[in-house]
């Protein structure tokens, strides 16, 4: 079905109108929001909250004992039984860091230096305890695949800052437990889908000309397409879709030159690379991703989603039978890169307008799985945010004394999504797309407990 010029112009006009309306309603708050883009660091597989950002001394005190009374009733997860499994003390110390004294475990010595930037939400919770549904839930607000992801909604709402690069870029280690749907456009047009960037010369799929076709020959062929299309268009000028496709080839051509440049790390100084841990065995990979993220947001990419961990290799989920090994390894691989990213964004003046989000699909059980493992735990876990005017060094909400359930200021995924959109200046109630006759929202019918004001300390 083609979109006529009038159709999309009128739709666009209406859209901007609605955003303006939402702007008026939220004038005060919006004036305070500064985020123009998001870097979302997704820890794939499940990071233990009680070993990272949510210290629970009670676990040490009652180490090896089952939960008292009825604490474990009503909780289910992948493998363990909450009524029988025993508490497991965190093997890591927590250090009060920065001026704020924010408690961060010694898994993250580098990140501790940025404690005053981090606003930790300790009361995140959900109900999906398997990876695929939980990842879907975290990214799209629904545990089933098929809904647009947060990134897709964000670029649908905000549009692009750089026409020569995709506005929603994803970098993963390959195999996601949820499949690629986790950064899909769902029922939104494909234009809003996350584009997977890979390292190397050709970050975007099919970016390079076919083998054996020289740049001159490629230009020649593009010019042929253009001339054929313009002749075709000459008798069909009323159809702007045809014009848009002609332009899409120009855009593709510009992407061929701009995207490789965006990912060309040789242009960075050694000092910058060292900041991200590039060149060190453990941190090289995620360090490159984080540095790429900075280069991309610098060029106007709206939403960069990075995944650490994969279904077919190193993953936070190895904590099932080896909490110590998995978390030491995965934290080591990402600590320096994330700290480097925060420092680099700050020194370049980008942190004020860039929101950095760190999250996982769920936490891990405060109870042991086997001798040295923790199972999936969606009922209370931590997320942190930094940048974009957020007042850091603070903690929102709390889990109970054993780290089981979010009990103070519980925040579900919709509350988090409503907040992230608001930080971007978008009202989650107004950002809708009609699908199957419903005005669908990222937050569905939820999102009533957003916490933007708290983050901004407004």
């Amino acid at each position: 079905m083609y979109t006529s010029r009038r159709n999309f112009l009128s739709r666009a006009g209406q859209g901007f109108g609605l955003l303006a309306l939402s702007g008026m309603m939220q004038e005060k708050l919006l004036a305070a929001t500064k985020a123009k883009r998001i870097i979302y660091l997704f820890m794939h597989g499940g990071v233990s909250h009680v070993d990272t950002f949510d210290p629970k001394p009670a676990l040490a005190k009652f180490n090896g004992q089952p939960l008292p009374g009825s604490f474990g009733e009503g909780l289910v997860t992948s493998r363990i039984d909450f009524r029988k499994a025993r508490m497991l003390a965190s093997p890591w110390n927590f250090t009060r860091s920065g001026k704020s004294g924010l408690e961060i475990s010694d898994l993250y010595p580098q990140l501790q230096k940025h404690a005053d930037k981090l606003a930790v939400i300790r009361s995140c919770h959900g109900d999906a305890f398997d990876h695929a549904p939980a990842i879907n839930l975290r990214t799209s607000g629904n545990q089933f695949p098929g809904r647009p992801s947060l990134g897709a909604w964000a670029v649908y709402g905000l549009g692009s800052e750089n026409k020569n690069l995709p506005s929603f870029v994803v970098m993963s280690d390959g195999a996601m437990k949820s499949g690629a749907g986790a950064y899909g456009a769902g029922f939104l047009p494909a234009a809003f889908q996350g584009t997977a960037f890979r390292s190397g010369q050709n970050p975007v799929l099919h970016l390079a000309s076919p083998k054996g076709v020289t740049p001159d020959a490629q230009k020649e062929t593009l010019s042929l397409i253009d001339r054929m299309n313009r002749r075709h268009f000459a008798t069909r000028e009323e159809d702007s879709t045809l014009e848009a496709r002609i332009a899409s080839y120009e855009l593709a051509f510009r992407m061929q030159s701009e995207a490789p440049d965006a990912v060309d790390l040789t242009k960075e100084t050694d000092a910058t690379k060292a900041l991200y841990g590039i060149g060190e065995t453990m941190t090289d990979d995620f360090g490159r991703k984080c540095l790429l993220a900075r280069r991309l947001v610098e060029r106007g990419v709206r939403f960069v989603q990075l995944y650490q961990g994969t279904n077919l290799g190193d993953d936070w989920d190895d904590a099932h039978n080896d909490l110590l090994g998995s978390h030491n390894k995965m934290a080591k691989k990402s600590d320096q890169p994330i700290a480097g990213l925060l420092a680099d964004l700050e020194s370049r003046g980008l942190l004020d307008s860039t929101l950095v989000v760190w999250s996982s699909e769920f936490g891990r059980t405060p109870l042991a799985e086997g001798k040295n493992g923790r199972d999936h735990h969606p009922y209370g876990f931590s997320t942190w945010m930094a940048g974009a005017g957020i007042a850091g060094g603070r903690v929102l909400g709390a889990t109970d004394e054993f780290g089981l359930r979010a009990i103070e200021q519980p925040k579900n995924v919709h509350d988090v999504h409503a907040t992230l959109l608001r930080l971007l200046g978008v009202d989650h109630l107004k950002l809708t797309y009609r699908y199957q006759s419903r005005d669908m929202r990222l937050t569905d019918v939820h999102g009533e407990n957003e916490f933007t004001s708290w983050l901004l300390n407004a």
Binding site: F8, G181, R198, L224, S240
Partner: protein, 801 residues
């Protein structure tokens, strides 16, 4: 460029539906105490009249005056009473109510409270408008012309034959015509040449492949189950073949409906029972959680939502959690539908009973034999494996050796790392073991191999098709969650006449609930079934449904543009024995369908979206059509029909993001001639779409898709321009076109891709292009590849006029 930017990134927020949102809010927050069941303080808030009338405290709303309206005072803290008692409304919600009252408290067109809704009324007999206009060929034209006249518009002239044959072929076959076919049709002197063309296209098996694909979109078909493991649904393709066969056989739609919903309960023939695969080819929610009950609930939800959306054009999903806010569908109605599906269990249809029994028996024996065969193999290898492993372990650093000697649970993190690092290295591969075998042992190995081969070399899929049946004559009880122990009986939507389904007669093998549902849906005078079906076909041919929301005919649907025409089409469809092919004929023979795409000046001003069809609506090829058209015109399309899904070779970078190891998840079909079969036969994995399909808007196959997006993105251009696929097909075409000089080669490539000769300008342009590219690339053949690649990327190739 600016246009494109807007097109790509336009924010298309639909208009805020004030009345709908306000009524929805009232329903959510207030109706528990002020609804149809309970009226505290004598107040009801579920109809406009009741709200204006008010309760003991007086009128709740004075239209136009929010600040004095009681409703607004109590929710905004401006009164001694504070409502709702569950907690104050958010400021956004209060603002919504204020704006709604200020706007006069409008009420949406239909809600639960009003049960008259046009699509729930029986199809009205409709007279075709009387006209003697020579443009009118068929009744459709009379309806269309009447509206065009009313809007001050005139129909566009008829398109030329070249355009018509391309349009009809892509719409009916999903493939473009060849130059020969175009030529034959344009030169056909018969006055009924076009009618015969349509008949010929409808009689071709290519028709079922195109329309089967449309149906598979609706029933969220896939060859894998989805979620993390995304395992194969080994026999799903039998259902795909059943759908293609059904369309090709022009199976009456009422029968098609009955076979899919209750083939097992109604028909004896296995071929008809295959239809119930409908329930098995969606994402398998058993993969969702490790908790059976939750998965079951989600599966039931999928059955209710998909069945009502596909066959009735109703979105009932809202009523899972609460009474539908716009349509007359109560939560009780929803669970009555769910009770119909509650007894379902997955099953298999034996396509041929004796063969299927035989297959199962063979399989049984085969697996038994395998038990010993693998033992034998392991014993043969064991001494060598031990020896090699020990030798290799001895080469490792001391610490690593200790790690291997330590029990798994006792290993330190350091030891664990060593263990992981060297495990693969110390494990001998089969080939290394084989090289060491004695001649006698080699003989034993050969024997094992040949035993294995004889067991499996004749292996093939069995004569089964996925299906469902009932667990027995009694269904499990169904309750509304959280609403007590009131068992909900199976039955139909009350707004459509309702009625419970009686228990089956004694001796029945199943509950016969789906049979009752299927027969109810397939009755000739069901208000929705025929309307929904003809509207889907209309959308496919004219770009937009008469009701634009093709899977929603409820209160939130788009009003029909040509209500009388819809009535006439629906009635005619039933009269013509629910024949899809007759329906296509009716539509495609009309003057309306044969118009040019060029809009008149008037049309561009008065009807830019072409709602009134004063010309034909241009469309882009769909994802599968793009691939199939490239293959066909390159001369490589393998027309073989049916069978196991094909897995074409893809470059490693194209397989990025697969959740499972490629060796398991993308097992490339060994016969390369299979790789160029039509797209409908290509494997449809739920966790992974082929890049070309993904960028050209193929749906994910998770939810029912009633209308595809048609976007324009640079990633589409990159994919069609630079992928291995395009390059290989362009090379195949170039090779075939290498006969004669530059001019002839250019002509050959134009004829193949665009089904026409280049005009004089294009001839010069193409010839010069070939010369320049030959200079740049070295050979004329490489230049010809570039010409083919270029023409695959033209709008003339990608759009249907």
């Amino acid at each position: 460029m600016r246009l494109l930017a807007i097109l790509l990134f336009a924010i298309s927020l639909p208009g805020a539906d004030l009345s709908g949102s306000a009524v929805a809010l009232l329903s959510q927050k207030c109706l528990a105490c002020h609804g149809s069941q309970v009226q505290l303080s004598g107040l009801r808030l579920d109809t406009r009249e009741a709200i204006l009338r008010g309760g003991k405290q007086g009128s709740a709303v004075t239209p136009g005056q929010p600040e004095t309206s009681l409703l607004l005072r109590v929710v905004s803290g401006g009164d001694t009473i504070a409502m709702p008692p569950t907690g104050p409304l958010t400021s956004v919600e209060v603002t919504l109510l204020r704006e709604w009252i200020a706007a006069g408290a409008p009420w949406p067109a239909a809600t639960v409270a009003s049960r008259k809704w046009w699509s729930f009324e029986k199809v009205r007999p409709t007279a075709v408008p009387a006209t003697k206009d020579p443009w009118v060929r068929t009744p459709i034209d009379a309806f269309i012309l009447e509206q065009l006249r009313a809007k001050g518009l005139a129909p566009a002239p008829e398109a030329d034959r070249r355009t018509l044959i391309r349009r009809a072929m892509l719409d009916l076959h999903g493939l473009p015509p060849s130059a020969t076919e175009v030529e034959a049709f344009t030169k056909d002197p018969a006055p009924n040449a076009y009618d015969r063309l349509i008949d010929r296209l409808l009689a071709s098996p290519r028709y079922g492949e195109k329309w089967g694909k449309n149906w598979l979109d609706l029933v969220r078909y896939g060859d894998t189950a989805g979620f993390e493991q995304d395992p194969y649904q080994l026999y799903a393709w039998r259902y795909r073949d059943y759908v293609i066969e059904s369309f090709n056989a022009d199976k009456p739609y009422d029968r098609f409906v009955k076979e899919q919903i209750a083939g097992d309960e109604i028909y004896e023939e296995p071929a008809a029972q295959q239809g119930t695969g409908f329930f098995t080819v969606g994402p398998n929610r058993d993969m969702l959680f490790k908790v059976e009950d939750i998965n079951r609930v989600e599966t039931m939800t999928d059955f209710v939502d998909t069945t009502s959306g596909v066959f009735l054009g109703l979105t009932v999903a809202c009523a899972r959690c609460h009474d539908h806010k716009y349509d007359p569908i109560s939560q009780r109605d929803y669970f009555k539908l769910q009770a119909i599906f509650a007894p379902i269990v997955k099953s298999r249809v034996f396509l041929t009973y004796s063969l299927a029994r035989q297959y199962d028996l063979q399989e049984n024996t085969r697996q038994w034999k395998l038990y010993d065969l693998t033992d034998d193999f392991a014993r043969l290898k064991e001494p060598y494996v031990k020896r090699l492993r020990a030798e290799r372990l001895a080469q490792l650093p001391r610490e690593a050796q200790v790690a291997f000697d330590t029990e798994e649970d006792l290993r330190t993190p350091q030891q664990k790392a060593f263990f992981e690092m060297y495990t693969k290295q110390v494990a001998p591969k089969d080939d290394e073991v084989f090289a060491l075998l004695t001649p006698a042992e080699k003989g034993r190995l050969e024997k094992i191999k040949s035993r294995l081969l004889s067991l499996y070399s004749t292996y093939g899929p069995g004569p089964f098709s996925p299906s469902v049946t009932d667990v027995g004559p009694l269904g499990p009880p169904v309750y509304i969650p959280g609403k007590g122990n009131d068992e909900i009986p199976p039955g139909f939507l009350s707004a459509l006449g309702g009625g419970d389904i009686p228990p089956p007669p004694p001796g029945s093998a199943t509950t016969l609930r789906r049979k009752a549902l299927a027969e109810w849906i397939a009755t000739p005078d069901h208000p929705l079934t025929a309307r929904v079906a003809v509207n889907r076909v209309w959308q496919a041919h004219f770009g937009r449904g008469i009701v634009a929301t093709t899977s929603d005919f409820g209160a939130r649907s788009t009003p029909p543009t040509h209500p009388e025409l819809l009535e006439w089409l629906a009635a005619n469809f039933v009269e013509q024995k629910w024949s899809f092919k007759q329906l296509h004929r009716t539509m495609l023979l009309s003057s309306t369908y044969r118009q040019q795409t060029k809009p008149s000046g008037q049309a561009m001003i008065k009807d830019p979206e072409n709602v009134w069809l004063s010309h034909f609506t241009r469309r882009r090829l769909e994802a599968e059509e793009v691939r199939d058209a490239v293959l066909l015109t390159a001369g490589t399309l393998n027309p073989k029909m049916y069978g196991k899904p094909v897995v074409p070779a893809l470059a490693p970078e194209e397989l990025y993001g697969m959740s499972q190891p490629l060796a398991n998840a993308w097992v490339v079909t060994s016969d390369p001639t299979e790789h160029t079969r039509r797209s409908i036969y290509v494997i449809s994995r739920r966790n992974f779409r082929m890049p070309l399909f993904e960028v050209f808007d193929r749906p994910e196959g998770v939810l029912s898709c009633s209308r595809r997006e048609s976007s324009t993105t640079p990633t589409q251009s990159l994919s069609l321009l630079n992928s291995d696929f395009t390059q290989r097909q362009a090379a195949a075409l170039a090779l075939a076109a290498m006969k004669g000089d530059e001019s002839t080669i250019a002509e050959n490539i134009f004829l193949a891709t665009l089904a026409r000769k280049p005009d004089a300008n294009e001839q010069t342009m193409a010839r010069e292009f070939l010369l320049r590219q030959t200079k740049l690339l070295g050979t004329l053949e490489q230049a010809a590849v570039e010409l083919a690649r270029g023409l695959f990327n033209t709008n003339e190739f990608l759009y249907v006029d």
